[in-house]
Each structure stands twice: as C-alpha cells, then as structure tokens.
C-alpha cells in the first residue's frame, strides 16, 4: 500500500514538473526550425496582393526564406524592422528582428540583396514576418 502511495505521489510530481516546464517554456523563435518554403520578395508580395486568402493558405504561420533587396531599416531601441522593397515607395516585406544587432553583425545595408528567414504572420500593407534571422 505504501509503495502505491509513493508511486502515485511520484507520478503527480512528474506531471506537475512537466506542466510547469511547458507553461514557462520561452518562445524560441525560428533558429532551430526548418525552412518550409523559399520564395522571392516580389513573388511573395504579388501572391498576397492578388489573392490574400490563397497566399495565406500557402504561407501563413510557415517558416519561409525570402530573397529581396533591403529598401529600409528602421531601428527602434533594441529591435529593428527591415523592409524588403518591391517597387520604390510601395508595399514590400516587413521583417522584424530582435535584437537589432543581428543586422549590424551581418553588415546589412540599404540596397543589398539578402535572404531573410522568418515566420509569416500575414498581410497588412506589407507581408509581415516575425522572429527573423539573416541567411544571406
């Protein structure tokens, strides 16, 4: 009987520990995750601009690699948003980087052709990617 109680308590403790671990698990970003799709910035934007529902079907919540030209980098404290441009002054791909130093470390400058890996969160003037990293 005593053994059964001890076993029961042990199971409860393990369950609680696992629940605690899952509950507090930090958001990892995408560094360790595999790329699901590779696309050019122009094709990605065109896809969303012509048929958002179909593009969501294909790209939303996916880890994608996007190749394009850096149109702008906007720093905001420790974070940065990099815009992959399509045409001058038009919509593009908005890529969120945290920390911003990732961009400096990779010597990212306006006008460069780069490859960004990030998670697609949808379309709102630009296609939005979060948790981005530079692939080059």
């Amino acid at each position: 009987m005593r053994k059964k109680i001890i076993l029961f308590l042990a199971v409860v403790v393990v369950c609680l520990a696992v629940a605690w671990y899952w509950y507090n698990k930090p958001r990892e970003g995408i560094a360790g995750k595999d790329t699901q799709l590779t696309v050019s910035a122009a094709l990605l934007y065109e896809g969303y601009n012509t048929d958002e529902a179909a593009a969501n079907e294909k790209f939303l919540n996916k880890i994608i690699e996007v190749k394009g030209k850096v149109a702008d980098v906007i720093l905001n404290g420790n974070d940065a948003v990099l815009i992959l441009g399509i045409q001058p002054e038009g919509g593009g791909i908005s890529c969120f980087f945290s920390p911003a130093s990732v961009l400096e470390n990779n010597h990212v400058k306006k006008g460069m052709e780069i490859v960004v890996k990030g998670k697609c969160t949808g379309f709102n003037m630009d296609v939005n990617l979060t948790d981005c990293i530079i692939i080059l």
């Binding site: 899952w22 509950y23 507090n24 698990k25 930090p26 958001r27 990892e28 939303l60 919540n61 906007i74 905001n76 974070d79 948003v81 815009i83 002054e89 038009g90 919509g91 908005s94 969120f96 945290s98 969160t121 949808g122 379309f123 709102n124 003037m125 630009d126 939005n128 979060t130 948790d131």
Partner: protein, 181 residues
C-alpha cells in the same frame, strides 16, 4: 504611395492637395500588459501601420494580431488560438479623429484627445483617450495609453487562468511617423 495611404485609412484619409499634412509609419509599436499578483504578461507588436493627417485631424491604425510577440511560447499560442482567434480575425484597426490644435510648423508636444473605433476580434468599440502628438524636426511622434476590457471584445477568459489575466489590459501606443512627400 497613394495606394499605401488608401489602404491604411480605408478611405478615411485621402490626399486632397499638395498641402496635406499626412504622416505615416509602418513600424509603430503597440504593447499590452496584464498585471496580476499571479503573473505579469506583456506582448509587443513592432509592425503597426499608422497614418495621421494633421489638416483633417484623422488617425488610422492597422496591425496583424499574429505580430504580437510574447515571452512565453504557450501564451502566444493561447492568445492567437483561444482569445483573439487570429486565423478568423487577423487584423485589428483603429479609425478616428483627434481634438486639439497641432501646428506642424512648430516643433513641440501637443496634448490632444483621440476618439474613434477599435475593431478587434470581430467587435467594434468606441474609445476616447488622451494622447500626445509631438512635432519633431523630421516627423511626428504619437503616444497614447488606455485600457481595454477583454469582455468588451467578446473575449472570454477560461476559469482556470482567470487569476492570471488582468480584468483590464493596459495598452501603450508609440508611433514615430514621417511626412508623406
């Protein structure tokens, strides 16, 4: 660029003349906080689209719910799947006006009141909040703080986590806009 404005203001903002004083950003920041004795929760969206028209005194915001980032994986998942249902309601918007005079030629901080409608989780709700607009050398900064109640937007918090999520969610808005040429 005209297309960009057209979208963001959904017809609220139309460039009518060369003297229009329209300021825009695609990298505004909106944070929200929930503070309870059990847990502090914070999420941040750095990809907020905003337009402020000083001559028409209109303001428009638009953002994707999935661009709100949390510190904990599970919280972000619950926020998207159970609370705001971001697959069904991907965007949140604000369209409104402000009262108070802002002189684009005179740099400085102007206290204004912003009024308008927030659309979130398929529900539209009016809000009225104090805000500040700062005219800087090369643009405009906007700031506001207000609280929202999840139940006003048909968001139900299950009993099991009710103690961990505040009744009032504090929202903080910070935008740094550039004039439209």
């Amino acid at each position: 660029m005209k297309k960009f404005i057209f979208c963001i203001g959904c017809c609220v903002l139309v460039i009518s003349s060369a003297s229009a004083q329209v300021y825009i950003t695609r990298t505004g920041v909106i944070n929200f906080f929930s503070k309870t004795p059990m847990e502090d929760i914070k999420a941040e969206n750095n990809q907020v689209y905003a337009a402020v028209d000083l001559s028409k005194k209109t303001i428009a915001f638009s953002m994707l719910m999935k661009s709100f980032l949390f510190r904990k994986e599970l919280m972000q998942e619950h926020f998207n799947e159970n609370y705001v249902e971001s697959d069904r309601y991907p965007k949140s918007t604000f369209k409104g006006t402000f009262t108070g005079d802002v002189d684009s030629q005179k740099p400085g901080v102007y206290n204004v009141r912003a009024q308008g409608v927030i659309a979130l989780h398929g529900v539209e709700k009016s809000i009225d909040t104090p805000a500040t607009i700062e005219i800087t050398g090369d643009g405009l900064m906007g700031m506001a703080r207000f609280s929202l109640l999840p139940q006003d937007f048909n968001i139900t918090i299950p009993g099991i986590v009710r103690d961990k999520i505040a009744k009032q969610i504090d929202v903080q808005v910070n935008i740094s806009c550039k004039p439209v040429k």
